[in-house]
Symmetry: C2
Subunit: 199 residues, 2 copies
DNA sequence: CACATTGCTTTACAATGTCAAGTACCCCGC
DNA sequence: GCGGGGTACTTGACATTGTAAAGCAATGTG
């Protein structure tokens, strides 16, 4: 073969998980192809073989993370299905932030890999799909009469707030902006206030 | 000299502005010390001389950006001083997002340079200082009786929402999440809705 | 048995970040 | 007017990186 290889294979999976470990430690843009290969016990060119380039490898991590996020948001929704409408919004938003903290490397690759990697439509599609559960939830809760605001506006408010909080939390910036309270409490308080204010 | 050099000097300024150009084009973590030096017309080691390391150079860009942001948020506040309380909150939040779009390289360095660079207290201090105007504004507007919610919570809501929107906008992700409406309209609509909902 | 595909490896190269030393210039005390 | 010390760099070297090209064993497939 000349370029990028098949979908799954033990080597590929080993590389991805090695990359995740390293990105967790050093930040996603400080991981080297060769270091990843070393940790996975393969030759230095194995990552290029599977992912085509450094950027391709990050992209692969992003795709993996997006499908994970989609599943976990749905799972959280099911767990919260019996709660009142607004509580379901709180639960899903909290789960979003918690996901970012649990999988910081994936999260970086998914939503925080600046400039390049723009205009990749399968990546864009995966992002939309991952968030579609949340969008549908907002529509449901509105249909049930628990909130009355415009669905798209409400959805974006929740997305942007959650993404903002998640980014600050993952980068350890919350303590810089807010006081020294534990990050999780600050996040929960803010999201709760937000959802309570929704019209 | 052995390590990092003085505060200002023509070379240093040239390097910083070369870096800003390059970071705008390729994203902040794809700029190379040597490329910056080339564009500034200096030798490949000039950046190391001034900033000590690659990380130090990004840090310098962050500090520059933070002082800029602080000034511009204050300027926006003065321009909006005659408006009703909530409109002043809208104006300052919008200015925050607009700043990120006007100075994407600085913004990345300031708020979106993951993992390392954590626990740098002069950077943390500069971040707090840059946002202090907004925090004070929230307190003012509340003191005037235009809003009633807790100052810290309201402040964090606005910060996180603005940061989230700014990040999405800068990364070109808004079109992926929201429809194809121009980013600026989406941002304005969302921020306006948010401020209107504040208790 | 020929042949393509998969799953890598080896070799090679240009470019990068960083370190150690060197150089040209300016100012200040003597 | 001259030596010494700082400033503002440069030059040279080195280990390491991302990427490209070619190769090679094993595994199907006709």
């Amino acid at each position: 073969m000349s370029t990028v290889a098949t979908g799954t294979s033990p080597g590929r999976a080993a590389l991805l998980s090695a990359m995740e470990e390293l990105a967790r430690e050093h930040g996603v843009n400080n991981v080297g192809l060769r270091e990843v290969a070393r940790r996975a016990g393969l030759s230095h060119a194995a990552p290029t073989h599977y992912f085509g380039s450094r950027e391709g490898m990050i992209r692969a991590l992003a795709l993996e993370g997006l499908s994970l996020l989609g599943r976990e948001l749905c799972a959280a929704q099911e767990r919260a299905a019996h709660l009142p409408g607004r509580e379901r919004l709180v639960a899903d938003s909290l789960e979003f932030v918690a996901f970012a903290q649990r999988h910081p490397a994936h999260y970086d690759a998914m939503f925080r890999t600046p400039r390049p990697a723009q205009g990749d439509e399968t990546l864009d599609g995966a992002r939309i799909a991952a968030l579609d559960g949340l969008r549908a939830l907002v529509a449901d809760v509105r249909a049930a009469g628990d909130i009355t605001g415009d669905v798209e506006t409400t959805f974006l408010q929740l997305c942007a707030l959650s993404h903002g909080l998640a980014s600050l939390a993952v980068d350890g910036l919350l303590h810089g902006i807010e006081g020294p309270a534990p990050a999780e409490d600050v996040v929960e308080r803010t999201i709760r206030a937000q959802v309570a204010q929704l019209p």
